[in-house]
Amino acid sequence: MRPLKIIVLAKQVPDTRHVGADAMKPDGTVNRGKLSTIFNPDDLHALELALNIKDRVLGTEVIILTMGPKRAADIVREGYYRGADYGIMISDRRFGGADTLATSYTLVRGIQKLAPFDLVLGGRQAIDGDTAQVGPQCADKLKIPQVTYVEEIVDIKDDEIIARRRLEKGVETVSSPFPCLMTVHGSSPACRSRHAKRVMKYKYARTNTELKSSKTEELILSLHKKRPYLTIPEWSVEDIDADINKIGLPGSPTKVKSVESIVLTAKEAKKLSDTDADIEIMIKELIEQHTIG
């Protein structure tokens, strides 16, 4: 079987599953600084699927592609630690404020720079928006078929790939020719852990922006001179030849008109303790009202 070239799209997201009380500023806006960031969970599943294919098809190359601010370089490093061959970051202030349409345009400019490829993989959705839109939108812009909600690669042939999809009410097995784009469902196997040797090898991987930061130690700078693979490529608007009107805020048709903090006005709730007496009273009331029984 011929080796494949796989691009994995991965996003750094705020950990919305653990939002603390200080995540909101008094004016109702989101205090991003207070939210820790993580590797988007579904994207980790996508990385595993890619690495699994690499295990099965000798010579397969896995490239991780992320877009985000400076600190998103963590995603590339994490990809290296777990087995990616190569990682690239798309980063430029002008990409900020992008909705899914502008994001997919930007990612596609990056993917096209990496062409030819056989497979683009990404998580089904990112936990900071749950939209599940970027995958299909990239597929459209690349003019390739999409296979969404993949949970297992059933077979890989020279000219086609067979995958099982997890649907709301069942499963479906489909075949698609190469190249295609797949989004990976959270029901697929979890990502393998970091590999100690790879962590040793890549822990000093940095983008040039990171290297320029005053905090960077001499040791790291000299290592980067000796080992060019440690320098994570960083692509700007110009590097991917993006149309400035299709990125960031100008490229985003959806706009936020208003946000409303959720203020709950308390109902007249009956407050009960966990004592037997309280619970028996409640149960009796519910039976009397014919709510239960």
Binding site: V19, Q133, Q146, L167, L272
Partner: protein
Amino acid sequence: MKSVFVYCEVENQKVAEISQELLSAGKRLAQKLGCPLEAMIFGKNLNGIKSQISSYGVDKLFVADDERLEPYRTLPHAALATEILKNQDPQIVLFGATSVGRDLAPRIASVLNCGLTADCTILDIGDHFVKKEKKEYKDLLYAIRPAFGGSIMANIINWDQHPQMATVREGVMKKEIFDTNYSTEIVRVNVNDIVKEEDFIVKIIERHIEESGVNLKEAPIIVAGGYGVGSKENFQHLIDLADLLGGEVGGSRAAVDAGFIDHDRQIGQTGTTVRPKLYIAAGISGAIQHRAGMQESSLIISINNDPEAPINKIADYVIEGDLAEVVPKMIKYYKENAK
């Protein structure tokens, strides 16, 4: 022409529940705008399909009837929908936030270069003043959804690129017959004029669809657990209570993510929306995404260690305590007191 458009899902000649809900929501928007409601449906053997759709007040229905269009595949459906939308140029297009709608809608939004808002919980019509242009845009779609961990409700609009598109989860919008004698114009779409052979390049090899045994939407009583339940073992208390009361068991997203309960029992914005007569929330803090899916329950009981849990604010009974103690007591006193 100004219109509201709905993409209808169909399988085995049955129009999906979500599509009927969207037609109802679409009619309400169309009435506010004073414009027609239009719909499209692609599948096989659709001769009698009009009867399932007309009564929602659909003015025009585009039907593409072809063996190859069912089961759903992305490329042929996307080709048909984009072609129809380009020609009809509606103002608003609605899709179900289903396996199908979430696969299809973004692809179409990409082709039409328009905005798409996912998982809306409220759809409305309103105006917006754009400062930069010093111009008031009238009658825009307000696509309202919880965002950012549920701490905010965001109103998403899109004034410069038509159409305005949105997806909505099943159960969020109320199904409402508009007029049982409504007359709908049928437009037959010539599939071969639009869909190319290479659009069928992805092939379905095997398909297993099982109607889920879980019916949260119809359950009169729901006992739901959150991350605070702590373990799969503790969930058994909730299952016992639900069984005893003749209800169903549900869970918050956190409980599903933690593996305490199956995904098809998730309640909330990205799960099922429910309106039972009794909702018992155990160990659920009550992020807005969860509340969006259950706040219309007639009676809500919250069992929580944390007296400040947001869910307590919408509850009718708040029991402060450990559910592993409280729930068995509820079972005990129900057994003693029920006739």
